[in-house]
């Protein structure tokens, strides 16, 4: 049951060639940089774009199969789509938007009214039922889009970066709605995102798309801990420092990466080989920042200037201009205490046990 799909399609310069499965009740996050083919894949699943080749099957029903020339039009697919910008019907009020799919599928008037009311209630929209979309905030619009897509209880729910167009405050509210929704859903869900936190928090499985190809997949936490490539590490918000394995002392490796000499624990499964290319993975949350050279047990200390500071919803991601660049995640409060700002020079430190070296 759920979604089983292989899709080959062209999207501008990009050749998408990806396989995707999503079991019911286990939301899949589709992660990738811009123009990696995520939206194209979603459009193919929804029936808004025709793949060149492939097969799309949902709950045992074939929606598309290039071999047997099956291509169900979008309106005959049991699908729900939540786009990035909501895309509400401007001429209908909130209730009209939510009820649209029920009316189009000829649900009885009474039942449509009942289900619409339930969906409005569920997403906290009951008091906005008579409003027009232009009178709503971004977060409210996105909740209407969620209610509209899910009121039909589709066999496949497709969410295309539903949080990325929102400001921090409404993002938190919509994220909560989304988490509750996905927790209850028993059917297949695909969530497109470029934010690792969405994947970690909302999905049971993650698929990383890079230039139209699936480069890695697995549980989101595993992807964060064991990325297989720099792009995956970057998408999962991890530091991925590439260098050479220079020395070894038991389990402890010294990796020379750019200007940095990093002391790291060798990976149990794929330890580095002396003198060969090695990678060090460091979680930005395991790195601390200091004004003065830190005393204590941290074996790795980097002195560098702050290149950029980005709000990551409750925390700040600070990028240092070391070579290679090191990303540090600290709480907003810690940042305020330290007085972190672009250009100021700080010490970053992390323990060897927080760094993992592998081949």
């Amino acid at each position: 049951m759920g979604l089983v799909a292989t899709v080959a399609a062209r999207a501008g310069e990009l050749q998408l060639d990806a396989a995707l499965t999503a079991e019911g009740g286990r939301p899949v996050a589709l992660i990738g940089a811009n123009a990696a083919g995520k939206t194209t894949l979603l459009r193919c699943l929804a029936g808004l774009q025709r793949p060149d080749r492939g097969r799309i099957q949902v709950d045992g029903e074939v929606w598309f199969d290039s071999d047997s020339r099956v291509d169900r039009p979008a309106h005959r697919r049991d699908v729900g789509v939540v786009p990035q910008h909501g895309v509400l019907f401007p001429h209908l009020d909130v209730a009209g938007n939510v009820a649209y799919g029920l009316r189009a599928s000829r649900t009885s008037r009474q039942e449509a009214r009942r289900r619409t009311a339930a969906a409005l209630e569920r997403f906290g929209l009951a008091h906005l039922a008579q409003r027009t979309p232009e009178a709503l905030s971004g977060g409210e619009r996105q909740r209407v889009a969620l209610a509209r897509a899910t009121v039909l209880e589709p066999a496949l729910l497709l969410l295309d970066e539903p949080l990325s167009a929102l400001d921090a405050a409404s993002r938190a509210a919509v994220r909560t709605s989304l988490r509750e929704l996905l927790g209850e859903r028993r059917a297949a869900t695909v969530l497109v995102t470029h934010d690792a936190r969405d994947a970690l928090e909302l999905a049971a499985h993650a698929v990383v798309l890079e230039a139209g190809q699936v480069v890695q997949e697995g549980p989101p936490a595993e992807l964060a801990q064991r990325p297989r490539s720099a792009p995956v590490a970057a998408l999962m918000g991890q530091n991925w420092l590439a260098g050479t394995a220079a020395a070894r002392d038991g389990d402890l490796w010294t990796v020379e990466a750019g200007e940095l000499r990093i002391l790291a624990v060798g990976d149990a499964q794929e330890p580095p080989h002396l003198g060969e290319r090695a990678y060090v993975l460091v979680d930005p949350r395991d790195v601390t920042l200091h004004r003065e050279h830190p005393e204590g047990s941290a074996q790795n200390v980097v002195h560098a200037a702050v290149a950029s500071v980005v709000d990551a919803g409750g925390a700040l991601r600070v990028t240092l201009d070391s070579v290679p660049a090191l990303v540090v995640e600290i709480t907003t409060r810690a940042a305020a205490q330290l007085g972190v700002s672009t250009g100021c020079r700080l010490y970053a430190s992390f323990k060897a046990t927080a760094a993992r070296a592998f081949a």
Partner: protein, 267 residues
């Protein structure tokens, strides 16, 4: 709240002058026209069977023309706005041709095409259909000259509709026809109303092509514009009364459409 008088800059002076000129240019002749006639002359004209016939022919043929223009013009506008087919640009130019063609030339071309010896007329005559000098010819002439106004207005309205909104509807179980009825049409309603008003007004006022291809038979093909023209040659005072009646009818129709539109918007 009192709006402060904006400072008069050269640009504002030019804009203000243009506005005043345009307003005067449109209203002054109409005022002269209306003041030129007397209530008694109007009353006489309103009882004149020739005028009543012409008014009836005008209203009936305009209604039929507008119906045809909407029925054929809406799909045509969809093709022009959305279609991806070879010759779309050419079709777009062809649709606009009647706008630049002098109506008399259009009437002559229609007359030749539909005359019993013409290519279309000879095809129709075995069926017992004769177009020139009939009500059908009036409708034909009106559709020819008034159609492009509707098609271009609706096509512009369609281009302004975000395709993502229609796509959204298809993911919500709406088939193509349902999407058109419940999403596209409501979104282009202002463009449709605007196009219908322009097109209807043009059809109601059509003269050159009508008199050429349909002639001037009272009660059959004599419309208000042709009646005004004929009257003007014999009795200029009577023509003025006719003109006032036509102007008033046009104005009432415009208000009616606006009222209808506002009522729709209020629902």
């Amino acid at each position: 709240m009192s709006a402060r008088m904006p400072r008069l800059t050269p640009v504002r002076a030019v804009v203000a002058a243009a506005c005043a000129l345009a307003a005067a240019f449109v209203t002054l002749p109409l005022i002269v026209l209306i003041t030129h006639t007397s209530p008694s002359a109007l009353l006489d004209a309103a009882h004149d069977p020739v005028v009543l016939d012409a008014l009836r022919v005008s209203l009936v043929t305009t209604a039929i023309s507008l119906g045809i223009v909407v029925l054929v013009g809406t799909p045509l506008a969809t093709a022009l706005a959305r279609g991806r087919f070879p010759g779309r640009t050419l079709l777009d130019a062809l649709v606009g041709l009647p706008l630049v063609l002098p109506p008399v030339v259009a009437g002559l071309a229609l007359l030749l095409a539909f005359s019993p010896t013409g290519p279309l007329g000879s095809a129709l005559s075995p069926l017992g259909v004769r177009v020139p000098l009939t009500e059908a010819a009036v409708v034909l002439a009106q559709c020819f000259v008034a159609g492009p106004f509707y098609v271009y207005a609706v096509s512009a309205g369609l281009i302004a509709v975000d395709p993502a909104v229609e796509e959204m509807a298809t993911t919500l179980r709406a088939g193509p026809w349902h999407v058109f009825r419940t999403v596209t049409l409501p979104l282009i309603r202002p463009a449709v109303a605007y196009g219908a008003v322009l097109s209807g007004a043009r059809a109601l006022g059509e003269f050159g092509a009508t008199i050429t291809v349909a002639g001037n038979l009272q009660g059959r093909t004599q419309t208000m514009p042709t009646a005004i023209y004929i009257a003007f040659e014999r009795d200029p005072e009577g023509a003025v009364a006719l003109a006032v009646i036509l102007a008033v009818v046009s104005f009432v129709l415009l208000l009616g459409v606006r009222g209808l539109h506002l009522a729709r918007a209020a629902i």
